[in-house]
């Protein structure tokens, strides 16, 4: 991997920015990568749509914004509608299975679906949706290691909820690993 661009998107309250913060911290502090994170900061970010971007590289990131996203994590319909078109052929599209109605089959993309909200609710609270999604993202892409992600959590999730957040991450991660096996172990 030389440079990889990732967009996390959804609606306000799903912990989208937190997803990018955790992944960026994991990569740059524990996976020995360079990561630059930016977030939508206009007045539009105060409404429902929400996005955060990461540029990941083995070398120092020069241009801080994403121009050719290779991975899109969309946890809401609006986010999916707004961003899926920018993925190139072979790009990875991760969507929230119950919240996103697909506009077609996307044969050119590597489509991965996860019922993150449902899993989070099974764990007791839909607030953990983002951690389920992050676990899944970690399993089905080769961007970041699960170890680094777990190391990054303290300080970015409330201490008293650390264990349950790790559990949510593991749930998404295991589901992702399972999915990799179902697709003949193909890791995207």
């Amino acid at each position: 991997m030389s440079t990889q661009e990732i967009r996390f998107s959804g609606f306000g309250g799903q912990g989208i920015i937190r997803c990018a913060l955790i992944t960026g911290k994991a990569l740059s502090l524990y996976d020995d990568k360079f990561a630059t994170m930016t977030q939508a900061f206009g007045p539009e970010a105060r409404g429902s749509a929400c996005a955060a971007q990461l540029v990941v590289s083995d070398e120092r990131v020069l241009y801080p914004y994403i121009t050719h996203p290779g991975v899109l994590v969309a946890l809401s319909q609006e986010a999916y509608d707004k961003y899926y078109g920018e993925l190139p052929k072979g790009g990875i599209l991760i969507v929230e299975e119950d919240l996103v109605k697909l506009r077609g089959e996307h044969p050119d993309l590597r489509l991965m679906r996860v019922p993150a909200t449902r899993f989070a609710e099974e764990l007791g609270n839909r607030l953990f949706t983002n951690l389920v999604a992050l676990g899944f993202f970690t399993a089905v892409t080769n961007v970041v290691t699960a170890d680094a992600m777990k190391k990054a959590l303290p300080g970015l999730v409330p201490e008293r909820f650390l264990k349950i957040n790790v559990k949510a991450f593991d749930k998404g991660y295991e589901y992702g690993i399972q999915m990799n096996k179902n697709t003949r172990g193909e890791v995207l």
Binding site: A20, L21, G24, K25, S28, L29, F34, A35, T36, M37, T38, Q39, F41, G42, P43, V61, L62, Y63, P64, Y65, A152
Partner: protein
């Protein structure tokens, strides 16, 4: 400059994933800043928030004032009460601070002001980036005065240069301005804060000699003259009027020469010690890209592409913006075919490059109004033209 190790109380050592705004606050706390009066304004608010959050554990004071005029005034007061002080703002707030920035220059009050630039003029583009206040920082206040300004290109440099800003400010007793921007301010990257004993800081130097020899000012241009702390029992005066070494008004042409010459020369005559540049492959270059802040990172991308095309291009990154690196530009003038100056404004620092280059080297401005960083391809195109 006499330095000591930083007080560990203010130093949050270790690696962080942090934005530039937060790194400004951490740099201030590490440098020993214990007073911050400010007024929130996008995109600088996160600095005030971080400082306010950390103040109780560090033993610092944070005051949200009624506006920017009051913020800088409170900082001037706190500085003379013995504190290292900081405030943070952006264009509209910086405009309001400009009057008292002049007072701080005239009274030789150490302070650090960070301007997290956004698009202007006026309220402009509250949430989007720019580098449009470069000249305002230098020439904002009326009358002749001189400040120091530094320009970080990353959250890491927001930390490092804030520490340096405090050191310069204390030694030269001058306001030091950190000219950062929305992109760097809101961008998260790895920031490594060193252990306290590896951070060298210039401590506040307060006069402690006999009363009759107390002089809050010395017009000798060298730097390092002690402050006098209010409440320590010395009689002295601070005024925006032309003053003598005790600080009392002496409103004559002769005294104005002494004071103004000192204000200018304490920076100009020490420019070689103050100025920091980051140079890459300048020797033998046909084209030199002069850039600063976030634009310098975009420029490196363009420079790398130009080198692949065989163009001999060097990079001159201005870490210190003011005083301007006149000497270095003059040295390169005539040796290089052209300077290329990209900046997120309508062409500000390029005027300085033109002034120093005269007619001996071409100067190409790659100006770009506020709201976004350059497309590297535009800078690459300018490098190609410069090489023709």
């Amino acid at each position: 400059m006499k330095t000591v190790a930083a007080d560990p109380k203010g130093v949050d050592s270790g690696p962080h994933f942090m934005d530039g705004d937060h790194a400004l606050a951490e740099g201030a706390l590490a440098a020993g800043c214990r007073f911050f009066a400010g007024y929130p304004i996008t995109p600088s608010t996160e600095t005030a928030e971080r400082f306010a959050e950390r103040a109780p554990e560090v033993g610092a004071m944070f005051i949200q004032m009624e506006d920017e005029l009051a913020s800088i005034a409170a900082n001037i007061g706190a500085a003379w009460a013995g504190q290292k002080v900081m405030t943070v703002t952006c264009g509209p707030g910086f405009s309001l601070m400009t009057e008292n920035l002049g007072l701080a220059c005239m009274t030789e009050t150490p302070m650090v002001i960070a301007n997290v630039q956004r698009g202007g003029p006026s309220t402009g583009l509250p949430t989007l980036t720019a580098q449009q206040d470069m000249m305002q920082a230098r020439y904002g206040p009326h009358g002749d005065n001189m400040i120091i300004a530094l320009c970080p290109d990353s959250p890491q440099e927001c930390f490092d240069l804030t520490v340096e800003a405090f050191n310069l400010s204390e030694f030269y007793r001058v306001p030091v301005i950190i000219l950062t921007d929305e992109t760097v301010g809101h961008m998260h990257e790895k920031v490594v804060i060193p252990p306290a004993d590896q951070i060298k800081i210039v401590p506040r130097n307060n006069y402690s000699g006999p009363k009759e020899d107390c002089r809050p000012y010395k017009f000798d241009s060298k730097g390092g003259h002690p402050m006098v702390r209010a409440g320590d029992g010395y009689n002295f005066h601070i005024t925006g009027l032309t003053h003598n070494e005790k600080g009392y008004p002496v409103m004559t042409a002769e005294q104005n020469v002494k004071v103004v010459t000192h204000l200018m020369e304490k920076i100009n005559s020490n420019a070689d010690d103050i100025i920091r540049l980051d140079e890459d492959q300048i020797d033998g270059a046909d084209v030199v890209v002069v850039s600063y802040g976030i634009t310098s990172r975009i420029a490196v991308k363009a420079i790398q592409d130009a080198r692949k095309e065989g163009i001999k291009v060097g990079s001159l990154r201005l870490i210190t913006i003011w005083p301007f690196c006149e000497k270095r530009i003059r040295e390169l003038t005539g040796k290089v075919k052209a300077f290329v100056v990209p900046e997120i404004n309508y062409g500000q620092m390029v005027k300085e490059v033109e002034r120093c280059a005269g007619s001996h080297s071409k100067v190409i401005s790659v100006n770009h109004c506020g709201g976004a960083v350059h497309d590297p391809a535009v800078i690459l195109d300018a490098i190609r033209k410069a090489n023709q």
